[in-house]
Amino acid sequence: MKRLAALVVAAAMLSSASVAAQEVLTIGVRSEASSLDPHWTQLSADLQVQEHIFEKLVNLDSASQPIPGLAVSWEAIDDTTWEFKLREGVTWHDGEPFTADDVIFSFDRLRGGIEGAPASPAFTLDKGGKTWEKVDDLTVRVRTDGPYPTVAEDLAMVPIVAEHVARGVTASVDFNSGDAAIGTGPFLYNEFRSGDRISVVKNPGWWGGEVQWDEVVFRPVTQDASRLAALLNGDVDMIDYPPTADLPSLRDNPDFTVSSIPSDRLIYVMPAYRDVEDYVLDNDGNVMQPNPLRDWRVRKALSLAINREAIRDRIMGGASLPTRNVVPPGFFGYDESLEADPYDPEAAQALLAEAGYGDGFQLTLHGPNDRYINDARIVEAIAQMWTRIGVKTAVDTMPRNIFFSDLIRGHEDSFPGHDVPKFSMSLTGWGTVAGEATYTVSGILETYNAATGGGNGNFGRYSNPRIDARSILAKRTIDRDERLRLLQEAINIGMEDYALIPLHFQVNHWAMRRGLEHAARTNERTLAIEVRRVD
């Protein structure tokens, strides 16, 4: 494989000597990809690099809506069976033809049981009780154990690897070395140097057409300031996550271009609903019973007390989209009638008084400090805003590796297999990776149920039977219009009840040198085929 890649490079160099200079795109990325095995992790830093080499049956367009990838079409032939027609004439980077056997092998590899497979359960393959079979070389059927509408969206998460190279290799290791990093995608593996660079080169035979870049290099630059400096001095052509404080000056600088799009990541504050919450105290410092956060008027007051525009302008450098939705515009389930709450501290105080908490109470707001854009500063700002209406809010932020395990199961009542969340109020985020709201509603609004996976992001343990009924039904409704109605109803019920307090969608930015044009995507990934030279 390395030899093949080298050959391609050599060929490209030969032609470049006579025709034009090598087109190399160097991208400075915030997080380093750790593995080129597309079934190894679900970290987006890994996935975005792997996507250059490996493809999926179903692709996501820049608004995360499913479009044909390695499958040209799919349909539900009955309530529980989906048929995928595969693309003809696709070849692997080593010239072997791509067939249904590769698809079946990839699915099996994810489920485990194949030697050397990562058995990575983090993919959505097992949801809906999926089983799969080959019909002929270009047809695959997926069966579910009940009506299950989002098979295509799920398969948009599952990269396909080549059976003839990936069978029997060591997970991750043999992919990083390039031996098994053979896909069908627009780029070929070239080099993987941990901590320094990952390079891919043009696949001249890609089914998707001509690829503009001869080589794409990903260089990890963790520090925000260094990444920006690398762009400014021309070490890299493009960076992801430019520091928000520098966005205005980058926009004003004629030598650089900034691209942006609201991401699928909702940032919200999650109240907790247990009868007694350890971090909700009265003004004398005693634990309150009942927990005032169970009163919707209190939650609404807290939402009205947040000045989302100020957070956007002062903290986010304009890079946020205040919202009251759970999925961003353009996604299946978005409801444009839901507008972000206005900033209204008087109304908030009145609501608190009406609920019987006119004198306020004390609260601790927890949050990560290295996970979301400006997370710790947002937490601090919200705490001040709440304190202003009489809810004296303390701040506790921590690194994500501690925050999330505490958020999910940090309470002392937890034991293996039984998770009890710790925080009473926390800032967190939810990314709707599949471009549609079914699993967002299920994940953050449905009642927590370890067995069904319902409410698996619902760490406040909110529970509302009216939402549950609609969410559970939506998960089994194939008809799109009906499902949309159910989802929007559930979202509206949740938002009217202030099940959670949405803040904004992060607006992601990329900065690049003048002469490049980038079609930004909602799912935060940086794909070289979406960057074009325009000079």
Partner: protein, 325 residues
């Protein structure tokens, strides 16, 4: 000397053992790596699957015994994130850090000794005061700030030097080295200088202090009276005597520089082990953290041993493993 080294090695093994205990149980108390690897849509079954996959479903002491057993056969476990043996990652990235550290050491000694001597010879001259003032800055200004200012000036404003990464490398004896290419040198210069600043300041101060003390010693006066040239007095007699504290301190510093060049490596995106450690901590890649710290302890032990041996070379009065104990 052989006895001394043997005794030292036995002590080191004990240190290593205690260290693995502390580190292993220490990292197992913090957070839970599972939630880093699970996507937001991961349900309980999927989380349990990941836990089993990472071997975290077994009790900690059992995990520890597995770890020690494997470690004895030279296997320090596989990184959670990279999925490859932790030691291979460390070996892959160590040359970059070593190169950076050695370059910093060369700068610290190459600049520090002459400047220190200068300041020691003429303590009241303006140049000497200037040198001492600058050395104070080296101690007190934070490394990340210096690094960022260097980047601002030399790569963004002037455009002379690249700001990130390691340049072209050539392979010598199987190790990738970048200081032999022009591109590599230009990448190496700023991070090495940044990393050297602390050591540089220390060398200047130690040299100056040593000079001030030794120049008044009887044997220097005696040498002068004997008509030995000033150059020879400085480069042989004085130098030998002031080097002892410098070697001691640099020896200790150097280990720290290799092990924890974290800040410099992060700022300049230098693909070394320090940056790897920080990334590993951020995602709770336990095997990699443990393997790295064990490796660092091992390295410190070796460095200390080397420093002791170097003493005996520099100062014949020092006898390793003297019989009195």
């Amino acid at each position: 000397m052989v006895g001394f080294i043997a005794r030292r090695l036995v002590q080191s093994l004990f240190v290593l053992f205690v260290m693995t205990l502390i580190v292993f149980f220490g990292v197992n108390v913090i957070g839970n790596p599972v939630y880093i690897f699970a996507s937001s849509e991961c349900n309980q079954a999927c989380v349990n699957g990941i836990i089993a996959d990472l071997g975290l479903d077994r009790p900690v002491w059992e995990q520890y015994f597995v770890f020690v057993g494997n470690a004895l056969s030279g296997d320090l476990g596989n990184s959670f994130t990279f999925g490859v043996p932790a030691m291979s990652l460390i070996w892959e990235r160590l040359p970059a850090t070593l190169e950076l550290a050695f370059a910093a050491l060369v700068i610290a000694l190459g600049l520090g000794l002459p400047l220190g001597i200068l300041a020691g010879l003429r303590p009241d001259a303006i140049s000497s005061r200037l040198i001492m003032g600058v050395s104070t800055l080296g101690f007190s200004v934070p490394v990340f700030w210096i690094g960022l200012i260097l980047i601002m000036v030399f790569s963004v404003q002037l455009g002379w030097l690249p700001s990130i990464g390691r340049g072209d490398t050539v392979s010598i004896l199987g190790l990738e080295a970048s200081f032999l290419t022009l591109d590599g040198l230009s990448h190496l210069l700023m991070p090495a200088f940044t990393l050297s600043l602390f050591m540089l300041a220390m060398v200047i101060r130690l040299t100056r202090a040593g000079m001030r003390e030794v120049l008044h010693a009887d044997y220097v006066k005696f040498a002068r009276a004997n008509g030995i040239s000033e150059t020879r007095i400085l480069s042989v007699h004085v130098m030998k005597n002031i080097l002892i504290p410098i070697v001691t301190v640099l020896g200790m510093e150097f280990g720290g520089v290799i092990a924890f060049a974290v800040v410099t490596e992060s700022i300049f995106s230098w693909p070394g082990v320090g940056k790897m450690l920080i990334d590993a901590i951020a995602v709770l890649d336990r095997p990699l953290i443990v393997a790295y710290l064990v490796f660092v302890v091992f390295m410190f032990v070796i460095i200390n041993l080397l420093v002791d041996i170097l003493y005996s070379v520099l100062d014949p009065r020092v006898r390793l493993g003297g019989g009195a104990r």
